[in-house]
């Protein structure tokens, strides 16, 4: 048993986190910045932060993740990191020639009180930022929130750096997709194009974090939101912000800066959340929901009616980020499955409330916890007390899955040990089909493996 020390008896912990279900802000900021075309993310801290974030994102995507670090030493930590950052900005523009540098802070630079706006202004004044180029920034202290908070903060940084009030174009919608996979971003764009809704999505990592092998390394791949598009986000008639945790703050800022109204939608995972998203799009754009999408919806419903017997009543434990877990839980409930253990390291009381409301519609009272000590150790303890039929979450779930022989669907961040997430979406109706396929395969593979010989089925 790899997790042999997990105690079944749940005791309250006040200070010790064991097997976290979150990570720190700066990695989210780095991921968001990778979704801008021609942008180089920069980590203002000691170089381990940057090395860890690059390694983690690289393991998840199996793609180059190019980013700079201010490489603090003790001296910089004592005297402030201004000199390091100004030097880094100069070096990055000289050597790597990006359009934009997106600087995020770290626990180190936040603790010593480095003032990013002031340092960046200083770099601009001293001529370290070439004409036509831009440095944007976000404050991302690792000791507040989670990787999702960092993502949200950098998206705000993008708005701050680019948004300008403009004459509203009735036919332009902003989409803030939240922390989803490049495949999900591409799928949302496909949905928009099927509905013929002109839109700007930011950030957009499709084409960046799932780039093709061509024999030539494109330091700045074709994908990513262009600065030209970003300069128009203030002219959109509406912003659809997907996910309260990752996208609300940027949408709010944009509405303040450029009077673009916004709605917070759930990430369109599963039937109902996708339905709501499409209806919202139809409402704010005046365009109809396309027949192709209705066709795909019918396919999802068809799979569910065909395979319901394998899903009905199955207990599920899931962990990850609140914006994903809410619609995912709703989908599971709609499949007549029972999400009974749910954990997110990202803090937020509203999360627990939504999950409980969703589960209450089917009289399920789940174990749900977010924030401090909402970790995979607690999740494991809950499962030891009430076992489940399916696990849904990031790669770290494989230890519980193996120890307890529970089918496991990988979803969320990070996924270090399988491919697929960057190419095949889990949002939209197409994504629902993929989720169904993954869940059914996981459950049915176990049935096949464990069926006694006389009851081994050919047709299922």
């Amino acid at each position: 048993m790899l997790l042999r020390h997990t105690k079944k008896e749940v005791a309250d912990r006040k200070a010790l986190t064991i097997n976290p279900a979150k990570t720190c802000q700066p990695i989210g900021a780095m991921y968001a910045a990778l979704g801008i075309n021609g942008c180089m993310p920069h980590s203002h801290g000691s170089q381990g932060c940057c090395a860890y974030h690059r390694s983690s994102l690289t393991r998840h995507y199996k793609e180059p993740v190019m980013a700079g670090s201010s490489s603090f030493t003790e001296g910089a930590s004592v005297f402030g990191g201004q000199a390091n950052l100004v030097q880094a900005i100069n070096n990055i523009f000289t050597i790597y020639d990006p359009e934009i540098i997106a600087v995020h802070s770290t626990c180190l630079s936040e603790t010593i009180g480095d003032d990013l706006p002031q340092i960046v202004a200083n770099a601009e004044v001293s001529g370290k930022v070439p004409k036509g180029k831009k440095v944007i920034y976000a404050s991302t202290p690792s000791y507040v929130g989670s990787h999702i908070t960092g993502f949200a903060n950098m998206v705000q940084g993008i708005v701050k750096g680019f948004a300008q009030p403009g004459i509203k174009s009735n036919d332009l919608i902003n989409i803030i997709p939240g922390w989803v996979e490049p495949s999900d971003m591409a799928e949302i764009k496909r949905i928009l194009s099927l509905m013929k809704v002109p839109s700007i999505m930011f950030p957009d990592t499709s084409g960046v974090m799932n780039a093709p092998q061509t024999g030539k390394h494109e330091f700045y791949p074709q994908g990513g939101t262009t600065s030209k598009d970003l300069s128009r986000i203030g002219s959109a008639s509406h912003t659809c912000a997907l996910g309260k945790w990752a996208s609300e703050s940027a949408a709010t800022l944009l509405s303040k800066m450029a009077q673009v109204p916004f709605t917070i939608c759930d990430i369109p995972i599963g039937l109902k959340a996708t339905d709501r998203f499409l209806m919202e799009l139809a409402k704010v754009s005046g365009h109809e929901i396309s027949q192709e999408l209705e066709f795909e919806r019918g396919q999802v419903a068809d799979i569910i009616t065909d395979m319901h017997q394998y899903l009905y009543g199955k207990k599920v434990a899931l962990w990850g980020d609140p914006d994903q877990l809410i619609p995912l839980t709703e989908f599971l409930v709609d499949l007549d499955m029972k999400p009974i253990h749910i954990v997110s390291g990202t803090p937020g009381k509203a999360f627990e409330k939504r999950i409980k409301e969703i589960c209450a519609t089917k009289d399920i009272t789940p174990n749900v916890k977010s924030g401090a000590q909402a970790d995979m150790y607690l999740m494991h303890q809950w499962i030891l007390n009430e076992p489940v039929d399916l696990l849904i979450g990031n790669t770290y779930g494989k230890y519980i899955s193996r120890d307890m022989d529970i089918p496991f669907v990988r979803h969320g961040f990070p996924i270090y040990d399988r491919i697929g997430h960057s190419y095949f979406p889990t949002v939209g109706y197409k994504g629902s089909m993929r989720l169904l396929e993954m869940m059914l395969s996981a459950i049915m593979n176990k049935m096949d493996r464990e069926a006694p010989e006389e009851r081994f089925e050919l047709v299922m």
Partner: protein, 549 residues
């Protein structure tokens, strides 16, 4: 591009390298170019060339390097299975170092302590930064103790801890006294302490030496030959292969630092009679301190490469001066090499003449050259990520290395002979004699003297420099780490990860050598590289050529 490669390959001369170097450096701001220039050497063995190493990274250059915490918690302490390692800091550092270095570990019994799959953190919040985190740390240690009753709890400081002044050592002492049956010790390994992971290795060595080594004097077996293996971290099961070899020879491995290790084995390791040093960079401090305090001689060895492994075993046998052991060693070598040579003879047909570059680690860029040589491949260039000058130039250079402000941060322990536990393992005259025969007894000769003249050596290479080397030299394989892997591969050159082995291995010892040969054969000869350009584009190219001709 190809023209450059042909030029280099045919002449391999200094002028070509210099030209390429100048071209690379010309991209940098002048100050950066001047600094980077000193990290380049065109190798001329025996001429006493100096290379710049272990100095501050250039901000924004895109370095391979990580931080002090990573070197301490991730590298040195990570592989020991039964210490509860608590990261004191915000959640990220603990999260990123959770299982990602793939140190394998094999407890003897299912019930033995093994915390390898667990990550422990104080998950510091803003109020802990403002009001101090010691209280939370104490509570966290208490909670870990109550839940697991481990033998040991280690505390690792992350960047903010040092800045806000949390005293992890005082907290550790207090909790250790309180528990009475649990060794609690701390590491001031904040990420900014040094210029790379290397500072973390040193800090780890110091604290393990102070708090663990020498705390258990019992000798648990009656085996005649008792050794420690230092600087072997069981990536991909390397330690398992070496354990197999030592077991066959009847040599007791008292402790490995720290692959597949337990805290008890380290506590007992001062009773061994010889220290074999694999990764000089990360563990040489321990070898020296154990020599001074307990009288254990050390040798630099290398178990990467079949021939290097054989040489290392012979060296050990020579030290013990035992005919039976020497006989066993020779028997083992001939048996193992027979298998290896059959394999390599077949594979060599496909790898001979191919070229490699290695930019990794603090010893791997040196050690892995052995395996490439066994495949008849040519090393075009090499360099370390976080090594010091002695790892390049040899330890003879140590007295002339100036201690700068960054190195001065790291405590140098004052070590003296232990009045009770110091024991002369071998007569001084015999040791001197061994040293005369072998330059790597209590010494390391470094990478440069073992590389061919005219090869390029670059310390702390940046992304831009790697990319240019790929363009200019088109090696058949490039060795580095996960951050470099896909950028290089997208350029059409396979990259072998020498930190994580691309999830393969073991590569150490004899069986490991064969695994490596096979992996490299697969990588340099895979079909995919010929399939990248779509056939219709190839056709278009041919047509275009035809028309233009």
């Amino acid at each position: 591009m190809i023209e450059d490669k042909d030029k280099v390959m045919s002449k391999n001369n200094e002028a070509v390298h210099t030209e390429i170097k100048e071209e690379i450096l010309s991209k940098f701001p002048p100050k950066v170019a001047r600094k980077r220039d000193k990290s380049y050497v065109i190798n001329e063995p025996g001429t006493g060339q100096a290379i710049q190493a272990n100095i501050r990274t250039v901000p924004g250059i895109i370095t391979q390097r990580g931080c002090t915490y990573a070197g301490c918690k991730g590298v040195v302490l990570g592989p020991t299975r039964d210490i509860v390692n608590i990261t004191h800091g915000p959640i990220g550092c603990g999260f990123y170092s959770w299982l990602t270095r793939r140190n394998q570990t094999l407890p003897e019994k299912e019930t033995d302590e093994n915390y390898m799959a667990y990550c422990f953190s104080t998950d510091m919040q803003d109020e802990n930064i403002v009001f101090g985190g010691e209280k939370k740390l104490k509570t966290a240690i208490q909670e870990a103790y109550d839940l697991f009753h481990p033998k040991a709890i280690a505390i690792f400081s992350t960047c903010p801890v040092g800045l806000i002044g949390d005293d992890v050592h005082a907290v550790s002492r207090e909790m250790k006294e309180k528990f009475g049956d649990c060794n609690v010790f701390g590491f001031s390994c904040e990420g900014y302490r040094g210029v790379s992971q290397s500072a973390g290795h040193h800090i780890a060595n110091n604290q393990i030496f102070k708090h663990v080594v020498g705390t258990d004097d019992t000798i648990k077996t009656d085996k005649k030959f008792r050794i420690n293996l230092l600087g072997e971290y069981n990536i991909g099961g390397d330690s398992f292969e070496l354990e197999r070899i030592f077991e066959r020879l009847g040599v007791e491995l008292v402790a490995t630092y720290s692959g597949n290790s337990t805290i008890d084995s380290i506590a007992n390791s001062h009773t061994a009679d010889l220290n074999l040093v694999m990764c000089h960079r990360s563990i040489n401090y321990m070898a020296e301190m154990m020599q001074t305090k307990y009288g254990i001689p050390w040798m630099k060895i290398n178990f990467i490469g079949a021939k290097a492994s054989a040489k290392s075993l012979r060296k050990m046998a020579l030290y013990f001066e035992d005919a039976k052991l020497s006989e066993e060693v020779e028997k083992l070598i001939s048996e193992e090499l027979a298998v290896v040579e059959d394999e390599v003879a077949e594979i060599k047909k496909r790898t001979a003449g191919k070229t490699a570059m290695l930019f990794v680690g603090g010893s791997r860029a040196h050690h892995y050259q052995e395996l490439f040589k066994e495949l008849d491949m040519k090393i075009l260039a090499a360099g370390y990520e976080f090594a010091h000058r002695d790892d390049y130039e040899g330890r003879d250079v140590l007295p002339s290395i100036k201690v700068d402000a960054d190195s001065r941060n790291i405590e140098e322990l004052k070590v003296e002979k232990d009045p009770d536990r110091y024991k002369e393992r071998i007569e001084q005259s015999k040791l001197d004699n061994l040293k005369k025969k072998d330059p790597e007894v209590e010494n390391y000769i470094g990478m440069m003297s073992e590389m061919e003249a005219g090869t390029l050596i670059i310390d702390d290479i940046s992304h831009y420099e790697s990319e240019q080397l790929i363009k200019k030299y088109r090696p058949d394989i490039f060795c580095a780490g996960i951050k470099e892997k896909y950028a290089i591969q997208k350029s059409g050159v396979p990259l072998k990860q020498l930190h994580s082995y691309d999830y393969g291995g073991p590569y150490a010892g004899f069986k490991g050598a064969v695994n490596f040969y096979k992996d490299i054969d697969r990588m340099v000869n895979t079909s995919i590289w010929s399939l990248i350009v779509p056939p219709w584009e190839k056709e278009a190219e041919i047509n275009a050529d035809y028309i233009s001709a």
